[in-house]
Symmetry: C2
């Protein structure tokens, strides 16, 4: 039936082309189009028209009249919306997903020893690619990722066709990809030189955290990031110890400390910011810093709840992140939406705050703002890059359909995403990833996780 | 491939039958069998054998040797485990799902007026059946439900083949199925007479709450429930107002008040119990009361977090519930597991509590205990009723697979359930519900929700 409709449409468009219609690459039509533009416009029977990776028309389905597309996706009955933006992850850590959950002191007992023993180029590449398969399947079109051998993540992103702000980790101790403390500096420089200007990959510095990178190195990173015009990704105000330490050493909050050494700028994407006071929030706003709110990871570790609702209301650039899959286990953003809505209500003792529509904004335009890419992604608007997703409304939980935002936040799941388009390219269609051989990626993941399980069984040393 | 294997197995079993093998109804074999028995035994290559709705063998796959089954399910690579138990819901309210989310005073503005205007036998039947489709698809095999026209829910449960403890609501105001205050009493008596002794349906009294049913009526309900040997379902310690009121009127907590009038017994399944002190918990334990922990519903309404971890540790009969879909939006239990684990950690400021294995126990054996049915359901053990589910492990988030409980709680979703068996009957196979025409149920749901949307658009009066 759908095939017949498609065939019919292709025919109609072919006739129009013959009559002098304007050629384009892709049309997604007859969908329930949620734009997430400034007025939160919705077209219940809408279309988007794509050429050269950009949206050239967004509106009622009639907006596609006069265009002849190489490919037409009939989204009748489906939701069409901007791709989700994952503002903080470590995708390669899929190889460790589910290891050491609910175990005390997992960072020292599992994560660091496992990383030192096992993380190499192969683990980073296949782990990241596996994570990207999960993200595309779940409707994530852009990720901010920080890890080691980040050039391998970049190669994976290019291969699968996913957008990424990718940061090479710098820290004051030996790392899987750098034997010397701060060896990541030189690695990061090479990585940034290699990928700067790429259409999908934005390379970045990723100083690990205020407590693992000293002020001198942070200043150098800021200076070089300014010169190269690249972002800085960092864990900020995440750890109780970090708060105690900056209070003791500098009599400041972590955010005040970073400001005092010049790190709070529009380049920074600060992950977590759990421990943010009202004046910290004002600072993040004044300095135009991006914030990644990782609700699931933060509550699973019982650290607390970042004041993301206050940040959002005060105009801070706050988006949603999953954190790595050893912290939050899954990498899709739709699965985070319900947590953000419900736990913010709980934490603030108010069922009326953090309404669904604002959660969807945080996950789309909010993420774009956090990455300082709101002029290019985050909403379906003419002139923007064509990063979008199509969600099936046939799943049982998607009916009734009284309010699309409520449905997305409280009832939808990553499994409802049918089609994912990044920069005009259909990277997943009808749940089939079209850019990589998923079977091959899985085989690599199974082999790697088998090795890891054996290593853990023998005792990690 | 699977068909070939199945054909092969059927052949082998046929040969065995010819050689005098014992005939049974169903074998589920070659699965990763999670029993949830007292020692939490797992058979990585296991089987269960079913006859007359009961498990007659559970163990390594070889345990099925010597049996010839009318049907064999090859669960190679899948997880086989007890069905999930939803200890508190109002399934018919699927018709209202997503209405009035994030709106102040929704109970008075939406729920009560909508129920008064719109709830009739048709809404209850089709709404409940739609909710049961969602539950079977999500691996729920038993529900505790309370609503109006509960006989319609019971007829739906019989039709679709789902197990239920179903309570007819009694309260001190006119209701959709009873014009007079407390008219539910007589309705409940008729309902209980009609369904007592049914193989799937356990009829029950459902006094709405301590603040909507007075002590005199509660005492009558207790007396009649004792005489008829049926359960009592009630909302308990859910509302801040309820706590204030029982303190003011009786100088007691809601739980102490119920104890003072003789309602705390092994018949009671108390939903919510958010506001439970340490001594309340001790009372619930001493009186052998069942508790339904509805995490998602409770945090979405910002009411607070029930001390379910403390209850679990102190041996209270505590299970997991979804509440109605106007409160928690979805009805599957797998989607609750992550919330229970993570929010209990957050609320108790301890990442090591409420480990995944205990969450899975709460959702299976815990639910069985809450309903006082632990001798019949909740685990895969010889002699118990054959209520079980098969989960596909091919979903991207299900790899790696280091720990089955971590995978189930932190990474799995309702969509991973492939097959649902209730009392030995395959009610869903390969995600296809086999007992009702899902298309027909959906058409009814769409028609009803269309009517409701029109009614809301005109203003509910």
């Amino acid at each position: 039936m759908q095939t017949m409709l498609l065939a019919g449409l292709v025919l109609v468009l072919g006739v129009m082309a013959a009559a002098g219609a304007e050629p384009v690459d892709l049309i997604v039509t007859r969908g329930y189009v949620v734009t997430m533009n400034a007025t939160r416009q919705i077209y219940p029977d809408g279309a988007v028209v794509i050429r050269n990776g950009h949206l050239i028309a967004v509106g009622p389905s009639a907006v596609a009249n006069g265009y002849a597309a190489a490919k037409v996706i009939d989204a009748a009955g489906d939701i069409v919306m901007p791709g989700m933006i994952n503002t903080h992850t470590h995708a390669s850590m899929t190889v460790f997903r589910g290891l050491g959950d609910d175990v005390p002191d997992r960072l020292q007992r599992f994560i660091f020893p496992l990383e030192h023993k096992l993380v190499d180029r192969e683990v980073v590449y296949w782990g990241a690619l596996y994570g990207m398969v999960e993200m595309l399947e779940g409707g994530v079109t852009t990720m901010a990722d920080m890890y080691y051998f980040e050039d391998e993540v970049a190669r994976g992103a290019q291969k699968i066709g996913m957008r990424g702000v990718l940061g090479e980790t710098v820290l004051n101790q030996p790392a899987p990809d750098a034997k010397e403390p701060y060896g990541g500096m030189e690695y990061a420089r090479r990585f940034i030189r290699e990928f700067r200007g790429d259409a999908l990959v934005t390379p970045a510095f990723a100083p690990h955290a205020p407590y693992t990178v000293d002020a001198a190195h942070l200043r150098v990173i800021q200076k070089e990031a300014d010169a190269l015009d690249v972002p800085i990704l960092m864990h900020v105000a995440e750890m109780p110890d970090e708060v105690t330490r900056t209070r003791k050493e500098f009599d400041k909050t972590p955010i005040e400390y970073l400001d005092s050494i010049g790190l709070l700028t529009k380049r920074l994407v600060a992950a977590h910011c759990i421990f943010s006071s009202d004046s910290d929030i004002a600072l993040l706003k004044a300095r135009d810093v991006g914030v990644a709110h990782n609700m699931v990871s933060n509550i699973k570790s019982a650290k607390g709840v970042a004041p993301a609702w206050a940040m959002f209301n005060q105009g801070v650039r706050v988006g949603v992140g999953t954190d790595g899959p050893m912290s939050g286990n899954t990498l899709d953003i739709i699965g985070q939406l319900g947590y953000v809505a419900k736990v913010q209500k709980l934490w603030n003792h108010d069922r009326n705050i953090m309404p669904a529509v604002d959660v969807v904004e945080m996950a789309t335009m909010g993420g774009a703002r956090a990455l300082h890419m709101e002029d290019r992604i985050g909403s379906l608007e003419t002139g923007k890059l064509a990063d979008l997703i199509v969600l099936d409304r046939n799943d049982t939980t998607m009916t009734p359909f009284y309010d699309v935002y409520s449905t997305l936040v409280y009832a939808a799941s990553a499994h409802d995403v049918r089609t994912t388009v990044i920069q005009g390219r259909v990277v997943m269609e009808d749940r089939k990833i079209r850019t990589v051989d998923v079977g091959e990626v899985r085989e690599h993941m199974r082999a790697l996780s088998g090795k890891i399980a054996a290593s853990v069984a023998q005792g990690i040393q």
